[in-house]
């Protein structure tokens, strides 16, 4: 997934000399190719994220296409006000990439973990929010963000969970992507980012489950969500993000207006990580590991 990110950045940079890559001193090795191919389009702004976003806004006003890279704990969280006032308010075409979302930095603790970024970013007007599950979705999201010529936040979580899709996709912005289809699909799993893999794995152990990936958190195709809700006896939403304000909230908001359905939220509870450990360990702590999720989902589906 990280190679795909590098490849798209290089492709965009070579195609459009107005593309500038700004980083807040993050992304070691990730930008080697970009720096080699587009050396004059790379700016390490230093450890100064607030200034980085303001500078990106000024550059965008000057006709450039800044892509601002940081860890999602900092971009967008630390710079939310700059994104709101300096960029989104004025419809400026700045793409924000927040890397390491969720519990990727499991050993480093709360400062580098990010489970609030979708909630915080999706309430900002004029800002699109994307959350790809694999390299194919990432490529598509970044290409769409560039083509849309407006402000966007791209969330990148655990990057090495394998592909969800077989090949590059041809999808429209906002569409949900069906990644598992059953003839008698009574229930629907709706997942985003790293948890799409888990949703598929759990569905494979059960029957009658359709699984959907949501790379486009905002804007999202509401009619597709309504249809899925309407055709399902119950929904399970999977995300490596707080249960407040993320994909689960979004699906519930849409469902409650037009297609009420029971929804189980598989997400991060209202708490910070307590312990240090591997990514898998942190998923267990937050009850997002496969076996805990599998059990939780089975119990829920038996009860509805």
């Amino acid at each position: 997934m990280r190679q795909a990110l590098s490849d798209v950045l290089v492709e965009l940079g070579k195609k459009d000399p107005k593309v500038l890559l700004l980083t807040g001193d993050h992304g070691y090795a990730l930008f080697d190719d970009f720096r080699r191919e587009c050396p004059n389009q790379y700016i390490n702004v230093g450890i100064a994220e607030q200034n980085m976003v303001g500078v990106a806004a000024g550059l965008a006003r000057s006709g450039f296409r800044p892509i601002v890279y940081g860890l999602s704990a900092f971009v967008p969280i630390r710079v939310l006000e700059q994104i709101k006032l300096d960029v989104a308010h004025d419809h400026l075409p700045v793409i924000f990439i927040g890397d390491g979302a969720g519990f990727v930095y499991s050993h480093l603790g709360t400062s580098h973990q990010s489970t609030e970024d979708i909630a915080c970013s999706r309430v900002i007007p004029n800002l699109s929010v994307y959350s790809p599950a694999d390299r194919f979705e990432l490529t598509q999201c970044l290409s769409i963000a560039y083509r849309n010529n407006s402000a966007a936040y791209l969330r990148i979580g655990k990057a090495d969970r394998g592909d969800v899709h077989q090949s590059l996709l041809n999808i429209k912005s906002g569409e949900l992507i069906q990644v598992k289809k059953e003839k008698e699909g009574r229930y629907s799993f709706i997942a985003t980012g790293s948890m799409v893999r888990t949703a598929i794995d759990v569905a494979d152990k059960l029957h009658n489950i359709n699984v959907w990936s949501v790379p486009f958190i905002k804007p999202i195709d509401r009619s597709m969500v309504e249809k899925i809700c309407h055709n399902s006896e119950a929904i399970v939403v999977f995300e490596e993000h707080s249960k407040f304000g993320g994909l689960g909230s979004l699906i519930a908001e849409i469902a409650s207006e037009s297609s009420p359905v029971k929804i189980l939220h598989v997400s991060v509870d209202d708490q910070f990580s307590q312990k240090c450990g591997t990514y898998e360990y942190l998923l267990q702590e937050h009850e997002l590991d496969f076996s805990t999720v599998h059990k939780k989902v089975c119990n829920y589906l038996q009860s509805v």
């Binding site: 230093g46 100064a48 200034n51 303001g54 500078v55 006003r61 000057s62 450039f64 006032l85 004025d90």
Partner: protein, 268 residues
């Protein structure tokens, strides 16, 4: 003569009275600075506030926006109605600067934003190889904000000699004197140490301001520029000068009349 400080201050009073608006003191300390900038330095081809070839003026201390509105009225960018209907329901001009108004580059009020956006514009002009200049006006209280100093380091590192920050050093911020809240020491020394060419000047002396800006502009260094303008909050109305209550106080019929009289009788 356009941009006469007395005229500008009266426009500010008209707006503040019409809209029962606050922040009069914040606007009065920057009147002469804005007068000099708009009169002598800011280039707007065909008087078009949206010209892609314009210089950039960013009022980072959005609290002084009535002074900018007064200048924009002088330029013909704002109508008489916009002044007399200030704060009326459905009107466009807000109490803090909003970038959707042609002539205003950034949305401010939350402080410390305009500086970095200005740095980005200055860098954009360098990359585009245009001769556009960028001026950012910040308050002395505003430089409490961290991003100002992040941006200062960046501007100096990248030799943005087309960038000038002007500090309105009126000695006050919202809740009192700057020296009692966060002592600033020598603002000029701070910017010098961050790699700026700098001059301190009487911020109500138009000739001195103009000379200082020209001197900084003509400097042969590659350093960004800092003009520290020593000003008086509420300048121009005797009972407002150095009285921080005019950060918040609204005019009534009597104080409006007295303020106009004070301007008419005053030296500036």
């Amino acid at each position: 003569m356009k941009f006469n400080p007395k005229t500008l201050r009266k426009i500010v009073l008209d707006m503040a009275y019409a809209g029962s608006a606050v922040h009069i003191g914040c606007a009065f300390s920057i009147i002469e600075i804005l007068s000099v900038l708009y009169k002598n330095h800011l280039r707007y081809p065909e008087n078009n506030p949206l010209s892609e070839h314009r210089d950039y003026f960013l009022l980072s201390k959005g609290h002084g926006v009535m002074a900018q509105y007064a200048c924009m009225h002088e330029l013909g960018w704002l109508s008489d109605d916009a002044i007399s209907n200030y704060f009326f329901n459905g009107s466009d001009l807000k109490g803090l600067s909003d970038s959707r108004i042609p002539g205003i580059e950034v949305t401010s009020g939350s402080l410390g934003h305009g500086f970095s956006v200005g740095v980005g514009l200055a860098m954009g002009a360098k990359l585009n190889k245009t001769n556009q200049d960028t001026y950012v006006l910040v308050g002395d209280g505003e430089i409490n904000e961290g991003p100002i100093w992040e941006g200062a380091m960046f501007a100096a590192h990248h030799n943005l000699d087309n960038f000038m920050v002007i500090v309105d050093e009126n000695g006050f911020q919202a809740m009192g004197k700057t020296q009692d809240i966060i002592g600033l020491g020598s603002i000029q020394s701070k910017f010098e140490s961050f790699g700026f060419d700098s001059i301190t000047v009487d911020g109500h002396d138009e000739i001195a301001i103009n000379k200082a800006i020209e001197k900084l502009r003509n400097s042969d260094t590659k350093r960004p520029k800092a003009l520290i303008a020593k000003t008086v909050k509420g300048k121009g109305v005797d009972f407002m000068e150095d009285d921080n209550s005019w950060h918040y106080t609204r005019l009534d019929k009597e104080s409006y009349r007295d303020a106009i009289a004070s301007i008419n009788e005053g030296d500036v």
